[in-house]
């Protein structure tokens, strides 16, 4: 930047500019009998989107660690925002409904990026049905092509755009403030940060290499020495990398697990949320992660001596049990893989979601079902056309005995 600004001032400037541009653009685009200027509005909105994207990129960095994920995120979020804008500013409600369909598709893409496969499918199915019905309504109720009050006028365009985008700007500011202050502790703490994850991934690769280094000729003592040397060469970066994450590097320190980024970060959660009996679900996950880290720590301490013992001092008259040593290394590798995946979405999304819903939210599920039933009945009752009472013949109205009396 040209001026020396604090991050907050910078963010405020970006957000304010983007908000003002968006207000002006949407104001120009909203349908009105006079004063609507579509190209200008689109230009302003593109500018707003550019400012917004720049801010997002500069402040929070790449959304995904990988290029493909990143590209998909930008694609889907741009799609959602662009088609959302089209829905808001489009004069023709049928086209608006179409734009809404694309908003839904983009949203579902974002869901997929967030590992919510079942929700992606469910949203498409449910909203596709709803959108088709809405299309039918639009075609049925707005047949005319002539300008109408509801399509070609807006209620308070400036004030409405101002209210909406001012709110958006304020929430973005709040997001920024939260991202500054509340990164480390609190319930929102990430179980395994991307940095740690990187280290763990490297460790996994090194462990694979170490396992491979064990295979080979072990018939002679020299060969065994070579094997061990290769193993040590592959294993020592693992030791350092894991020690940074889970905390232990030597035998004396195994009972004081206060170093390493994971225990330092997550170890405080129990005290923050008021002891083990009042754990939130996120804390349970944190606890499991800590346990996993402890396992890794223990294995890290145990594996190298075991492997050394197996390789260097084989039992008399027996070949060196390389397979057992490799199994030991693989055990450590598996533990590290588990730690690497801690906090990531489980693979069986549908099954786990269903289990969670029925195990923990059974009453809420039933209530939602009742709500749907009531809504169905209510919709039928509301839209039911009351039939006019049939005109009763006069003969039936007259009392039966009148003629006889007369």
């Amino acid at each position: 930047m040209l001026f020396a600004l604090s991050p907050t001032q910078e963010t405020t400037g970006y957000v304010a500019v983007a908000t003002l541009l968006a207000i002006a653009g949407v104001f120009l685009l909203l349908p009105r009998p006079r004063g609507r200027f579509v190209p200008g509005g689109i230009a302003l909105l593109i500018a707003a989107a550019a400012v917004f994207g720049t801010w997002l990129y500069r402040t929070f960095g790449q959304p995904m660690p990988d290029v493909i994920g990143s590209a998909l995120f930008w694609l889907f979020s741009a799609g959602a925002v662009v088609f959302g804008t089209v829905l808001v500013t489009q004069r023709n409600p049928a086209r608006g409904a179409l734009a809404f369909a694309f908003v839904i598709l983009s949203t579902c893409g974002l869901f997929l990026l967030l590992a919510a496969t079942f929700l992606m499918a469910a949203t498409i199915i449910i909203y596709a049905g709803a959108i088709v019905v809405t299309f039918l309504f639009v075609l049925m109720l707005s047949p005319s092509h002539a300008p109408t009050d509801e399509n070609d006028r807006s209620r308070e365009p400036l004030a409405g755009a101002l209210a909406g985008f001012a709110f958006v700007g304020l929430v973005l500011l709040a997001l920024f403030q939260t991202s500054l202050t509340n990164q480390r502790d609190h319930l929102l703490a990430q179980l395994v940060t991307p940095l740690e994850r990187e280290k763990l991934a490297a460790a996994i690769a090194q462990l694979d290499a170490a396992e491979k280094a064990l295979a080979g000729d072990t018939s002679t003592a020299v060969a065994r020495e070579q094997r061990l040397a290769a193993f040590d060469a592959a294993f020592s970066p693992v030791r350092n990398a894991l020690a940074e994450v889970v905390g232990v590097s030597s035998a004396e320190q195994i009972h004081s697990p206060q170093e390493g980024s994971l225990p330092q970060r997550l170890g405080r959660l129990g005290t923050v949320s008021g002891g083990p009996e009042k754990l939130f679900r996120a804390d349970v996950a944190a606890r499991q992660t800590l346990t996993q880290a402890a396992t890794v720590r223990e294995l890290l301490h145990r594996v190298p001596p075991t492997v050394e013992a197996i390789i260097s001092m084989p039992a008399a008259g027996q070949p060196v049990d390389v397979a057992t040593a490799q199994a030991e290394v693989r055990k450590l590798r598996d533990a590290v893989v588990l730690l690497h995946g801690a906090g990531l979405m489980p693979a069986r999304n549908v099954a786990n979601l269903g289990y969670g819903l029925y195990a923990e939210h059974l009453l809420a599920i039933e209530l939602a079902g009742v709500l749907l039933l009531v809504a169905t009945i209510g919709a039928v009752a509301i839209s039911h056309r009351k039939r006019e009472p049939l005109p009763t013949p006069d003969a039936k109205n007259a009392p039966a005995g009148v003629e006889g009396v007369q």
Partner: protein, 143 residues
Amino acid sequence: MTITLWHFLAVATVLFGLGWVGFLTRRNLITMFLCAEMMLQGVAINFVAFAFYHGNLQGQAFVLFLLAVAACEAGIALALFVSLYRRQRSLDSSDWQHLREPGIPVAVDEEPLPAAPDERFPTLPPAGVRPASALGPEEVARV
């Protein structure tokens, strides 16, 4: 440093805000309804992003309930639109101002609507007769 949650939250906020603007300004009931649904989508992204961040499925379960509520809303809202349309033959939300204070005049739109586009559909001449304008001078002379 890479923190993915904020990106998703920012996008969700923008989507929510756009829906809000549409709900406040557009007058077609169906468009208003779609805008409200878009606000719900913003909220849903929020939930799912947090679920991913926490590494559990609570947020996704919430979104399922959100879907149920949205379905109820759609059913009731469309039924209401039908019955309202039956009364006024219009989907303009400003047609219903009956709940105002006594003595307050009805809000009327002052600017006139633009004229309807003059769409002339082509009319065909009677079958078997060549249109006069399409004839060249020599053919006219021949006839």
